[in-house]
Symmetry: none
Subunit: 132 residues, 4 copies
């Protein structure tokens, strides 16, 4: 069971709508149940450094079945997962904006958002995920 | 001057239409004038190994303002660019499927296609580019 | 739908039995439908350089739904996929020993074998896959 | 002198038994005296992001002949090894779950566990190592 391209488009569209409301252009990416990219869009004017981050936030959320924001709070210096951000060849993102996509309680993909501050990324990711 | 997200969507949609005619699911990616990803889509059932390849065919086509098929013919053993495929951290793709996007004779982006044999990838990339 | 750990163990055990018949210690790896490692074993005395190769032969066979030997024949200089071996961050293996695992005609994983010459690797991979 | 495949299987089996008791699926990996992977298993449902982490916790525990948890306490900001996690091409893991395997006081391999919180990973790694 996995998210499909049609799912990914709907999720990305919902995220972009929220990004426009915030007035902040974003990168939005969706991965499947294997952590592999289904679709990515960069809104005009969004940061080019966020292409990689959005894709890898989605990868991270699926890789550990967790929101990247929650993983991040466990990965600060002194906390139990500090250092996890150097694993998986630099693909683990430990700040807000990656959210798993669930179907019947099972994680079947994830969305990753990057382009604003942490609160904006998280807000857009949640709006995107809720369209799944 | 650069390709926009709206351009990328139109290009990808045209490529997917051609892919459906061929009955071969594809990965299609579009980069901007800076070689940076604007959008990527993987059709359901398309190879997961082609995510990276489609994005990097587009990167390559913009990086050298050339179709990847033409670059490939210059990059075979004994030819003038043999070895170029290991440059740029493995991002240079030297086989068919990457096509520059031109506006008034200027390269402002590129499309990359991967998911079939070389002829199929090239056919889809050309259909995609012609929608630009 | 994906190969499970129990599947992987059965596949690896069958491969190792064949490897013992050949008198050649091997690395054998199995990935799931997303290309992610399920299990790997290195028989005592097998090459340490083959750890990476066995895992990535399995990854490649799933990434393109093809035996790595067949991909290799398309990836020689002058052929349509020459250069593919530098894509996917060096994870694409284009010589014999990677075989997809099919269930009802669908690729749901793959096995990768490395430790001998090409013919030995392929023989062991086929024996392994046939236990799936 | 080094851990063998038979050792690795026994160690992994003991770890998996403990993981089942905890109700938490895990990735478990064993490396030899050279730090090279002997065997890895991912229990069904365990995180795919933990494949890399389990292998590299084992690599780290053998590379410095130390439990990764102890290395981690020396690698926090302000401590003597802070920064070590970016060495060795991102293979050094500085959180709980990697334990050396000793024979007659000599480190001859290591086990790495990833799939739960730090306490769970450590508990499973210790159970695994005690079967050596």
């Amino acid at each position: 069971k996995t998210a499909t391209l049609e799912d990914a488009r709907r999720v990305i569209a919902a995220g972009e709508e929220r990004a426009r409301e915030l007035g902040q252009p974003m990168n939005i990416a969706v991965v499947d149940s294997g952590g592999n990219l289904i679709a990515h869009e960069r809104m005009d004017g969004a940061w080019i450094g966020s292409v990689d981050i959005s894709i890898n936030k989605a990868f991270t959320a699926r890789s550990f079945d967790i929101e990247t924001e929650a993983l991040g709070s466990n990965s600060q210096p002194g906390n139990q997962f500090f250092g996890i951000h150097t694993s998986n060849h630099g693909r683990i993102m430990i700040f807000a904006g990656g959210v798993p996509l669930l179907s019947d309680g099972e994680v079947v993909g994830a969305v990753g958002v990057s382009g604003g501050d942490g609160k904006q990324d998280q807000t857009v990711a949640e709006a995107a995920a809720s369209a799944f």
